[in-house]
Symmetry: C2
Subunit: 422 residues, 2 copies
Amino acid sequence: MSMATSPQTRLLHNHSTNNFFNNNNNSFIRITAPSFKPISVKCSATAQTRTPSPPLTTAQDRVFNFAAGPATLPENVLLRAQSELYNWRGSGMSVMEMSHRGKEFLSIIQKAESDLRTLLDIPSEYSVLFLQGGATTQFAAIPLNLCTAEDTVDFVVTGSWSDKAFKEAQKYCKPKMIWSGKSEKYTKIPSFHELEQNPDAKFLHICANETIHGVEFKDYPTPKNRTGILVADMSSNFCSKPVDVSRFGIIYAGAQKNVGPSGVTIVIIRKDLIGNAQGLTPVMLDYKIHDENNSLYNTPPCYGIYTCGLVFEDLLEQGGLKEVEKKNKKKGEILYNAIDESNGFYRCPVEKSVRSLMNVPFTLEKSELEAEFIKEAAKEKMVQLKGHRSVGGMRASIYNAMPLAGVENLVAFMKKFQARHA
Amino acid sequence: MSMATSPQTRLLHNHSTNNFFNNNNNSFIRITAPSFKPISVKCSATAQTRTPSPPLTTAQDRVFNFAAGPATLPENVLLRAQSELYNWRGSGMSVMEMSHRGKEFLSIIQKAESDLRTLLDIPSEYSVLFLQGGATTQFAAIPLNLCTAEDTVDFVVTGSWSDKAFKEAQKYCKPKMIWSGKSEKYTKIPSFHELEQNPDAKFLHICANETIHGVEFKDYPTPKNRTGILVADMSSNFCSKPVDVSRFGIIYAGAQKNVGPSGVTIVIIRKDLIGNAQGLTPVMLDYKIHDENNSLYNTPPCYGIYTCGLVFEDLLEQGGLKEVEKKNKKKGEILYNAIDESNGFYRCPVEKSVRSLMNVPFTLEKSELEAEFIKEAAKEKMVQLKGHRSVGGMRASIYNAMPLAGVENLVAFMKKFQARHA
């Protein structure tokens, strides 16, 4: 077999599209290659290692994965990660093996930050931190860094996640729940003029998109407190649309919805808010430590940061977040329309104006059919449609990386299912 | 091109060894395949996704990577991770995309735990937790979970890492430094009978292997305190040899030395020590939360845990930690002998009886040659040999995954270099 004529050799040219026969089933398969840089294959006579990565394939059908996070990733990001896993761009090692202080990884984390700054147009007076521990760790870190134990903080509680943030803050400051959607089963976002903010609050906290309940802020309240600081958990709609970062003191997000694998948490923080952590703050929760060390105080989650970087590149190649938002709006429109036009067979409990473009919860009028719906959808390769255990029903998470075809497939299935059971 | 005759098709049979010509340079390359399960390639007529992972190769020379962590990983683990990255065992998704509550990922984390329990023969009264944030996060979590603010704790400080643990503990309890190797530049481990332990200490803390200074406990002190609890940071020698877990209250380790990529921290804790965290403990630092939720309270670092699982499988296939220890002893012997037999051209400052089998620091008598040594070694594909910025000189980290050939190469280079400069 000649390597020169193998598919992977052809794949190594930018944006090539190749067709070849898969001999195992004689079906015609189209491969669209992502934008790989050509890789030159060397084999030096003096080198001691002689075991290159063999060509590999796992050619099998890909499912449409509607999981709420970890969630589907862009296919070309996965293919690129796969192509580079064994040997990153001729470095002779995997990204997983790189010293976090070596020049190779420094180039990776710096490009990831730079691309994220471009995507979100992050002003220079903000730091970008790549941390660990999920948004849940930030629920403690934020009051620990911004408050004294006596400070008041305003929380708008629109679902499970903002409620968790509120509860964790009780350990470190005096949070006030100034609005709660609980009595209406977290199906609403308050109108901003009805929010009774405390003028002495240290900051106002919101969850920009509630992953479980599917409610999303379409605009943001203006903090009417002494500092003017708005803090937002954007875990589940981070980088799904443009955001005016300058309106926030802190934006934080777990990566595992829209921008990467789990294990990376991104914090975008206005620099003047750094440096006042309470004395009992664990060193790993102190923003000053991470900021001074460019997220390299201790070993960061290197491979996760690398993968986020590949996603940022992909989002830029798509044309940036305005283009991404257009696609997300289109997907959301198709799915919500299918629900609303089902004559009540499917129902979405969320108020129309604040329905999430990322997480779409819905129920069946005949709730006894829900298990069958989920099972049959899985047979048609649409998986993870079960609603969160705390709310039941179904939930389709349609993050950036869910292709339009996935939503179209789901809608077609919903119509078929309805016709069969109407 | 026929898939049936491609290298990857042949690779998909267990333990096959294949030789083929690399057409790019006409050199003969031997590929030894790790133990892959055969993968059947399907292409269902009803499926919507038509883009399988194309065969990929990154056939290039692999370097010998002596980094202190993240560090070299077993080559067959990397190849297996690469083969499964795009589509994990026919699931239609990457491990990076899997819901942490789905059956696929549950099978992964459960097998990882089970294999680790087998490797270290972990008694059933111990919990195994897969966490985030590195050992540095545990420096806070351990006193927060085990102590009141008034409790005394004994620290043996044998290097930078135990010193950091001691300093962080000052926020949460009253730690006493009962021994320090600082005045002797951290080149020793104390004899245990000279340790003046506080009878009222809540636990005795050691760092089993100091990554920067290269000193390693060859046995462990018996705690002479009221609880009899010994706590050990084993980040840099975890799973490098058998350990009697029952002698410890807590063993903790960042994964990125011997067992996986960065971003995973493993805590092995005796169950009766769980459940008494201080009121101000962040929820993510509370062992009870993680124990009750089997490390799935929030989204864990799934892909890192998966990779650790592949390493655990590999260590078991090697015959377990007794066999691994034999290999590590052999590697250490070769390298330390080369240093000791150089007539002072190379020097290792560490007392012979406690030299680390993982991290080998050494200097050149002619220190002005060190930069040249590092540069020339890199030319011969031996990288990351520079000592930690705090101690200078050189450091060769030779963790489990560093092959014997890597150490032999280094020693051959050292002899050549000496001959040239003697």
